[in-house]
């Protein structure tokens, strides 16, 4: 039970961050012509920011089912690596159906917080998922119902919340480890190349992120292989 409470507590900042990000998603969905219940249903069943954003952009066109499948595959393939990574850290009791249930909640932030732990138990992980899920669904509901009430300047500011959270996850680790700083720096450099250079900038952002992240992580694994205790902690 203690473990569950610890998980709940660790999930609060993620939930708050999701509240603002999914608020923006709700507004975008409405502006594209979706009903509020459709936006909420999308958030309840997907729980992913980049994938949902790309998804509603595809949904407004008729019958692009293959495009939908391929875009979700590319944008979300990073979750496979995260799931694989976390599968190495869970306690021996975290097996079978529990993994198939809680695999649904593998998001960037939930993964990042969980992988900061030495061992991830079912109780901790289940606690960790509560507030992020509530925040994501509630934010979508609020954004789609009363989004237009907020002035643009506040909406703009809220858009940086999710990135602030990303920074808070990477920066402290990069401060401790020069290797991680260089690997993360390489990923940023590659990402900028995909954003600004001709030809490369034609590639969709979901795919670009995937390529940058894999190249930089391969570089890290070759040049700075981590010692056993590091990968566990």
């Amino acid at each position: 039970m203690n473990d569950f409470l610890k998980g709940l507590k660790s999930g609060i900042p993620i939930g708050l961050g999701y509240l603002s990000v999914s608020f923006a998603f709700g507004i975008m969905a409405i502006s594209l012509g979706f009903e509020w219940w459709q936006a909420v249903l999308i958030s309840m069943t997907n729980l992913t920011s980049a994938g949902q954003l790309a998804g509603i952009g595809i949904m407004i066109n008729p019958a692009q089912y293959l495009e939908m499948f391929l875009s979700q595959l590319t944008i979300n393939v990073r979750y496979s690596f995260m799931s694989l990574s976390l599968s190495q850290k869970v306690t021996p009791q975290f097996t079978g159906i529990k993994r198939w249930i809680f695999g649904f909640f593998m998001t960037d932030e939930i993964f990042a917080v969980a992988s900061n732990e030495n061992k991830v138990s079912v109780t901790f992980f289940s606690g960790l998922t509560v507030f992020p899920y509530i925040g994501w669904v509630l934010g979508t509901l609020l954004g789609s119902v009363l989004g237009n009430v907020l002035p643009a300047i506040i909406m703009n500011a809220l858009c940086l919340a999710i990135y602030g959270m990303f920074v808070a996850i990477v920066a402290p680790k990069a401060k401790e480890s020069l290797a991680l700083l260089l690997v993360a720096g390489l990923s940023v450099a590659l990402s900028c190349a995909f954003y600004y250079l001709p030809v490369l900038s034609e590639i969709s952002s979901g795919l670009a992120i995937c390529i940058c992240a894999i190249l930089a992580a391969v570089f890290g694994a070759v040049v700075f292989p981590v010692k056993e205790e590091n990968t566990n902690g």
């Binding site: 990574s85 703009n156 920074v167 990402s191 954003y195 894999i214």
Partner: protein
């Protein structure tokens, strides 16, 4: 859009997203011993988040100076060991303040 095509889309979207996440988590029972793969898996979350943040975050608020200021404050506070919520809120407040200054005072 009619309800039928909405639900077909929803099924494809939610189904593919779920399977990508759950299959590696549910099916991988063994401990990976390979040092290269272990190192790769250690780095991947940080490289994903780094690539997602830069340079996209600079264009997330509609004002590149405000966004850059927000990110700068976020990095500073994160290095000082502040938690996720404080860093995220501080980044938003910075964007808000910089946008106010640029809109009304300059």
């Amino acid at each position: 859009m009619d309800n039928k095509s909405f639900f077909i889309y929803l099924l494809i979207m939610a189904g593919s997203t779920y399977l990508i996440r759950a299959i590696p988590f549910g099916a991988m029972r063994k401990k990976i011993e390979n040092k290269f793969i272990r190192s790769f898996l250690y780095y991947i979350p940080y490289t994903v988040l780094s690539a997602m943040t830069f340079p996209a975050a600079l264009y997330a608020t509609g004002n590149i100076y405000a966004a850059a200021s927000g990110l700068f404050v976020a990095i500073l506070l994160a290095i000082k060991g502040k938690g996720l919520t404080i860093v995220a809120v501080a980044a938003c407040v910075t964007v808000f303040v910089v946008e106010i200054i640029m809109t009304y005072l300059i």
